[in-house]
Subunit: 727 residues, 2 copies
Amino acid sequence: MSDIVQTTGMLAWIAPAAAVIGLAFAAYLAIWVLKQDAGNERMQYLSGLIQKGAKAFLIAEYKSLIIFALVVAIVLGAAISPFTALAFLTGGILSVIAGYIGMYVATRANARTTHAAQTGIAAALKVAYRSGLTMGLVVASLGLFGLALWAIFFLVNAAHPEPEIVDGFVMGASSIALFARVGGGIYTKAADVGADLVGKVEAGIPEDDPRNPGVIADNVGDNVGDVAGMGADLYESYAGALLAPMVLAVAMAFTVGSPLGGGLIEEGNHSIFAGFTLDGILALIMPLLFAAGGIIAAIVGLLAVNTQDPNKIHKALNRGTYLTSGLELVIILVLCLIWQSVGNIPAVWFFGCTAAGLAAGLAIGKLTEYYTSYHHKPVKKIAQASETSTATNIIEGLATGMFSTVFPALVLVAAVAVAYICGMQVGGKEWALQFGVYGIGLSALGMLSTTAVTVGVDAYGPVADNAGGIAEMAGLPPEIRERTDALDTVGNTTAAVAKGFAVSSAALTALALFVAFKTNLEHHLGKDAMLVQLDNPYVIIGVLIGATMPFFFAAMTMGAVSRAANAMIVEIRRQFREIKGLLAGDPGVEPDTEACVTISTKAALREMLLPGILAVVIPVVLGILDVKILSGMLIGTLCCGFLMSVYMANTGGAWDNAKKYIETGVHGGKGSDAHKAAVVGDTVGDPFKDTSGPSINILIKVVTVVSLVFVPLFANLGGGVLHGIIG
Amino acid sequence: MSDIVQTTGMLAWIAPAAAVIGLAFAAYLAIWVLKQDAGNERMQYLSGLIQKGAKAFLIAEYKSLIIFALVVAIVLGAAISPFTALAFLTGGILSVIAGYIGMYVATRANARTTHAAQTGIAAALKVAYRSGLTMGLVVASLGLFGLALWAIFFLVNAAHPEPEIVDGFVMGASSIALFARVGGGIYTKAADVGADLVGKVEAGIPEDDPRNPGVIADNVGDNVGDVAGMGADLYESYAGALLAPMVLAVAMAFTVGSPLGGGLIEEGNHSIFAGFTLDGILALIMPLLFAAGGIIAAIVGLLAVNTQDPNKIHKALNRGTYLTSGLELVIILVLCLIWQSVGNIPAVWFFGCTAAGLAAGLAIGKLTEYYTSYHHKPVKKIAQASETSTATNIIEGLATGMFSTVFPALVLVAAVAVAYICGMQVGGKEWALQFGVYGIGLSALGMLSTTAVTVGVDAYGPVADNAGGIAEMAGLPPEIRERTDALDTVGNTTAAVAKGFAVSSAALTALALFVAFKTNLEHHLGKDAMLVQLDNPYVIIGVLIGATMPFFFAAMTMGAVSRAANAMIVEIRRQFREIKGLLAGDPGVEPDTEACVTISTKAALREMLLPGILAVVIPVVLGILDVKILSGMLIGTLCCGFLMSVYMANTGGAWDNAKKYIETGVHGGKGSDAHKAAVVGDTVGDPFKDTSGPSINILIKVVTVVSLVFVPLFANLGGGVLHGIIG
């Protein structure tokens, strides 16, 4: 490799450096949050219960994942390479650390937010948002840090780049994310559904009432589901989005005559890599530099999140997102212009790819808001239908959720097309396809380049929610609860928007990783063996199996919530019946909150294993049968899963806000028949939006990245044991 | 063509002959049914109201379709060929005739079944089933008759076979089926939901109470939805399943050197068809002969449907289905053996293809029964969850429905694989792919070869349901209602099984038609232009759009039911409020049933147009853009639509029977909280199982057959105006 290429490769170190800056700033924010006053003894006691429950769950979860992780690592070490196994473990461990830190800060920020709310909205917003951003920065920085180091050693500075090692890191991230999402989702909704049904509906006591033994579990659930779960989700999307364009760049550089490298040259029994061109090394490290820019932009964006006006919280949060996005776009544009001026390809087009991704993310976020916020027609129509009956509330909600998939899908289609077209311009006629696909990879990265802020805005929600719960349980004056409620309401919308981001980035990332998977297999098996045409019977079978996966997954996770919620309901009813004076509110009588925490913890751990293991095992089994079946399956899961995920997340969000809308006093307000109908919708929506929908996101990515990692195995089997028999 | 080939081609006339026999037998059954005693004046009056409502709706529906049909015919005449336009019109007109005859007999059989129930179960079953089988035979016979004649003139006896003309017949069938299903589904559920919510839930009067003004509309809905709608659905599946292997046989015969024909030979500016081999003509006419056998088998199968024991109704119906299936298998085996002995290919393997399809149909039917009948665990669990709350009933129902997609999808995968493998054996190494796909076409036909019985068993359900309604409204003694209820309960299960059949045959048919579509395009554009690989950006965009279609469709149809039901609720409430003495049951006070019939009719006609038109227009638009986008879209709609359809049909069926299970006295029985929760589930399930789910079936087929018909247009555009730009 020429000196200039080697020197340029050194720039990759900017990425871990930016990650360290991100971590340092996260530490600063965390220390600031922890320094705030946690309020009176009662508040600290309640916050302590939540901390204890969340910690107990996460540690139990991680413990039960150790065996899984070791088994997978051993399989990877034997079937692929020991370094892949090691990368897998680091990807998982960093996810665990990110989740733990985020949960640690979030569960301590809740009482501090409640206390700050006594001063005013601005102070409370500051505490809640800073704790959220801590999580966001930790997620993005650890993801970038880990992936960048593996990439530097095994792609950038390697004599022969070995993508299957770096793939392992993302597989580790994916696997943990899957369990975190599924487990966290089951935990939080078992507690939520159980506490609401017995407390609000049967006993008629308010939400978050201290007499309800399920309330602590519910609050713990917000943290393990929405903080740790969402964090792990976006951590792995982020790592995957970083990986995809790098793997595609390496694949191109492996091809003789490509603008990115000299190809693989046969020398004796080995194939030697002839090295990257300057454009090649830039194509490889640019994703890392874009991501580094994203972290810096997120830190700057924090400055914009500040308001005194309860009606402007949403605007303040949006300001932060827009400032970060704008800054990131400028950074990317500058980087592309530099690339174009030093390299030999018109790299400025790549700006179009990333901008398309970022714009699509914002657009899908806005669409999600339209379909799930009660300021718009769809939710108002659900509220209206609640007046007629419960059944019409459910029908209208499901119809709204199904319809809400259409425009996000079209936006995604547009993003793919624009990114592809922009990428093609770089490659010219001959390399149009490859650069087009690289462009799709960059669009996913563009969407995720603001991950820190997305996670931050999302993780802020549960903190505000918990803060409200503590205010209620600690018996603080109603104006405090009003302030935390103002924060919480905005948090519900931002959470929905973050879900829109999460699912669309998952789809784009999986798409880019799928192309990387196919390209890698083509390298091993030749193009003719990898003709995955739509009328090939293996492909058709695969697509059908793939489309079934999201339904299967949704059914399993919904069933899990249903079973766990039932156990919770039985326990809460038992306590109301057997603990004397509890419902009457006699002083000194406390519910046994720990029993409920234990039920949620055990149920989540028990129920997360099967779906998690199947998501990892099924693609490997199909790939061993035939890589064409697997290819079809990946596209089936991707497309059908995207729609199911959006459908379920939006349906749940819309039901939730239809209930909240009625609670503002319309259609009879709280306690009316319409409200009762809306409460049923909201309860059904809980596992939709917080368990099944988000789990499908990760399913999409897990199956793809597992397939990518196991390419060497499938290639050794000549494309699978059934290869060529019928397709 | 040699003499022997030409003589063999004459055998195709067996098909229209068998169709005429089927029609004659249907006429005999219809006359028999109409000769039965229609009961007392009150029963005849009620039956007359239903007849009037059903007739008014069908005529209004057909009227509003005339413009659509003419516009499409003009477009087809201009863009494809005048004969295609004519075939399209005949396909549609025969569908209309079949639907009208079926509805005519069914709406007259209801009171006659009620009257016969006074004698006993056996007599009532005989009337109800014979009226159902009338519909079944008319559907199958008219489908076979029309398609066979077009095929004889433009495929079998043509100097140059022109599949695009015969395709037009199926497109006509599809278009009418779509409107019939969507319109009928909206009609029936608007009436059902509205009548139940105000009558049963609000006013607390029993189902089918004569005071309820919505009951007649509800009974009319059963006929226009489940009789005319389901009939049109299977009529078009049947026509499509007949068409697909024929088109594939012609495509193979067009290829020089294939075992089926001499290929297309250039002569001047024209390409002349060198003619079929003996195997070619047999491959072309065999589907017609299989279908002819199916009609004869269905007539024989009728003999087995007879019982005195109310607990053995289901067994008796199953006996009919099994006898027909067994006989049909023997006929197919004999035909394949004859083919093998006179031809040059090992045609007996085709028996494996058809048997795989038939077995898959029965297996999916059984699975549907398992997930939707209350004799099995899934429905019992939903009933159990109803005890906890309405929300858990809904969650458990949705989870059950989602899970219920998994095994049907795997059965379908198995059927595709087995049919493909059997087909391959016929083709040997060189023609494995083509014969494999022809085998898939035969498997769809195998599944549908018993269409007459499937429709018969299904159409029997609404007759029994109506008979019960008339017994209730006419104030007959409770034991009559008990007998009709016994018939009706079985009818619910058989309806669910028929839905399983309908959706799996739709998937297989669409699959075969998709391959025909791609093969035809390859003939025009060359194989390289039609490389529809999964990583092609157009294909990916297409699959994503295709996967969105079922969600879009389900949302539109659910929303339509919701809107129409609301109008119905307002009207029924108004009548209860304004018509003095109605609710009190004062003698001589009658509800204004016609107002409700008008609401359902108008809503159905208004709401069916947009989804129907979009289903036809979207594939044409995508194909004009690029045939690869269209190809992806067809597979996306097929796979995602199959799952959505099964999910929605089974969820609705399971909710319905969970309610019925509770009504047997478990979990507190009628009037308990569990029952109230189950009623909500049942109401939500109504549009699921009877509007959206079945509509998606037809969507799958419509988009495919429209694409197939417009192949010449897309080919003239060189594969679409965007062809080659990005994919």
